[in-house]
């Protein structure tokens, strides 16, 4: 009798909470999906963060009754897409649909009837469709810490960080809230707005803008070249164009292992294997020899270290110039704050993504920069299952592409900032003269 009672009470609290929190209003849900009203989204994010923290504490106390669902990727993607279509169409999820129907909404009641039909369709198609689909990319009932071999707290930290970033990004209610800012901007323009410090501070500020434009453009070019260099080295190594000798790789690398575990301080363990070939095969596609000369891993190592250093320093300087440019823009009242603040933000994100987090946060904390040993270990490891292969390429190419994208966004915003500021004041100069 205890379980029905507990279920009934929990359900009643949950239903009442849904009404109290406003999630029974379909307009809130649609507003969130259209990125116009973030009440529902922020509520859900906070609830997930609280629940994640609470469940972790329960697990530590040994009091959590977990119910992990199978990670059958294809059915989850397909099912999730259908659920998304349903929510996008109606503004209800199965749970809020029930609660809305109980709050007097006729459309929710009809949606509940539709849900019963949906359940019926699911039962009818189940024997023919579901079991075969479940076999595709099914990793079983695993949690993220189990799948990666990391502790729970290692996963809670990024989930929290992502949640907090989402809360910061949605702190204004989408475009519906931007009107006062636009009005203020228009007011300033129509009233012949003059910077508080007078023309002198504006002229100095414009000079600074020109200097920062040159620096930021140069640093951007350097970073792009360094990134391209790192990616070329990865593909050359992965496709067997670089000869990796046995002494470059730890013997432990002969088994598939969690990526990012390579520690530069660990000693290299070597075993004498006279019968084995001098160079190791790589896991990538075996291509015919593309280079007219022999490229050894020693050559590659001598390039990776300076490129890493250049990239790191350039990225730090790029973020710093972004910060100083933002300060100049604010102090000199030059405008273009939206562009330069975004440019600074993107520069910081790029810097964070670049840092070699794997040294302190292995195996899940990964940075774009890699050490030669990490590259050799990963490229010569025996290829594991699809998930492991996907992680391998995400680590070396996915993070790289992400950093490249963020840097391009930063540079684009930086370009828009200089263009906005210089065009505005050049025009003003022409008109006054």
């Amino acid at each position: 009798m205890a379980i029905p009672f507990v279920g009934l009470i929990l359900g009643a609290i949950f239903g009442a909470s849904l009404v109290l929190t406003g999630l029974t209003d379909p307009d809130r849900i649609i507003g969130s999906l259209r990125l116009k009203d973030f009440h529902a989204l922020r509520t859900v994010i906070v609830s997930v963060l609280v629940a994640t923290l609470g469940v972790w504490l329960l697990s530590l106390a040994g009091a959590a009754h977990l119910d992990i669902k199978p990670a059958a990727i294809l059915t989850l993607l397909l099912g999730g897409a259908f659920v998304g279509i349903g929510i996008g169409l109606t503004g209800f999820s199965p749970t809020t649909g029930l609660a809305c129907a109980a709050s007097g909404r006729i459309d929710a009641l009809v949606t509940v009837v539709g849900m019963f039909f949906g359940a019926h369709v699911y039962i009818l198609i189940y024997p023919a469709v579901v079991p075969p689909l479940e076999k595709v990319l099914n990793f079983g009932q695993v949690t993220l810490p189990q799948a990666t071999g990391a502790s729970q707290i290692i996963w809670i930290a990024p989930v929290f960080a992502a949640g907090l970033v989402a809360l910061v990004l949605t702190r204004r209610g989408g475009s519906g809230y931007s009107e006062p800012f636009d009005q203020a901007a228009r007011l300033g323009a129509s009233e012949g707005f003059v910077p508080a410090g007078g023309p002198a501070i504006t002229t100095d500020g414009l000079d600074a803008v020109r200097v920062f434009r040159l620096w930021r453009n140069s640093l951007f070019v350097v970073m792009v070249l360094a990134l391209v260099c790192l990616q070329v080295i990865f593909w050359l190594t992965n496709t067997g164009q670089v000869q990796i000798s046995r002494d470059a790789v730890r013997v432990a690398a002969s088994k598939p292992k969690a990526l990012g575990m390579a520690n530069a301080d660990e000693p290299i363990v070597t075993e004498a294997q006279p019968s084995a070939p001098a160079t190791l095969p790589t896991r990538g596609p075996a291509l015919p020899r593309l280079l007219p000369f022999d490229l050894t891993f020693k050559h590659v190592t001598s390039v990776i270290h300076p490129v890493n250093a250049i990239l790191m320093f350039a990225c730090v300087l790029y973020a710093l110039t972004g910060y100083i440019a933002l300060s100049v823009s604010i102090r000199s009242r030059l405008g273009g704050l939206a562009h330069i603040s975004r440019a600074f933000y993107f520069s910081l994100v790029a810097l964070i993504l670049l840092l070699p987090w794997q040294i302190v946060l292995a195996p899940i904390g990964l940075g774009t920069l890699y050490t030669p040993r990490e590259l050799a270990d990963s490229c010569t490891a025996v290829a594991g299952d699809t998930f492991e292969t996907a992680r391998f390429y995400l680590r070396f190419t996915g993070t790289w592409a992400l950093v490249m994208l963020v840097l391009i966004l930063a540079q684009w915003r930086s370009f828009r900032w200089t263009k906005t500021v210089l065009l505005k004041y050049d025009d003003a100069g022409r008109h006054t003269s």
């Binding site: 279920g7 949950f14 609470g54 999730g80 007097g104």
Partner: protein, 181 residues
């Protein structure tokens, strides 16, 4: 029937989030994670079991007695309806409505069209929730709370398709006053 408009929730978003998160923690501490969508399948399966016993006997899903047991999750569903009804009455939020501000802004047609969309949406919701072993509560909210791997692809698919469909069905934003901002 009242004119649709976005209501201001009784509690701010952060209080709302903490409240819902604590309910989920309470559920996982006392019994197991909240999941309502699967109960629609249970009810349908039980109905089919009585209506077509021969078909049900050979069906791999309906014949799974453990899965279709009327238990904790079913009582959660019943409690949810009761709780929502009582809370709506108590907060004076119980009102008969058939459409929403976003729908009215984007579709001039009769209310019937909204109801048809609701029916089709409901069908998609449960078909999807069945395939994905749960809906927003059972898979997304409980999944992330337990750091389940299954929550990752589900979240990507739900938000991706949800945003796309919402963009296609509701391209026009309601007037600011109507949005209750």
């Amino acid at each position: 029937m009242k004119e649709p408009g976005i209501q201001t929730p009784p509690v701010p978003w952060w209080t709302a989030g903490i409240l819902l998160g604590l309910v989920q923690v309470l559920a996982i501490g006392l019994a197991t994670s909240l999941d309502v969508s699967n109960q629609f399948v249970v009810v349908d399966a039980r109905t089919l079991e009585h209506a077509a016993p021969e078909y049900a006997q050979n069906h791999p899903l309906i014949s799974d007695k453990e899965r279709n047991k009327f238990g904790y999750a079913s009582y959660v569903g019943i409690g949810l309806v009761l709780g929502a009804f009582l809370a709506a009455l108590h907060l004076r939020m119980w009102k008969v409505q058939a459409t929403s501000a976003w729908w009215r802004q984007n579709h001039d047609g009769p209310v019937l069209l909204r109801l048809i969309a609701g029916f089709c949406g409901g069908l998609c919701l449960l078909l999807g929730a069945g395939l994905a072993y749960g809906g927003i509560t059972g898979q997304f909210s409980a999944g992330w709370a337990q750091l389940s791997l299954s929550a990752v692809p589900f979240t990507v698919a739900v938000f991706g398709s949800g945003m796309l469909v919402a963009y296609l069905v509701y391209p026009k934003t309601p007037a600011k006053g109507n949005r209750g901002l």
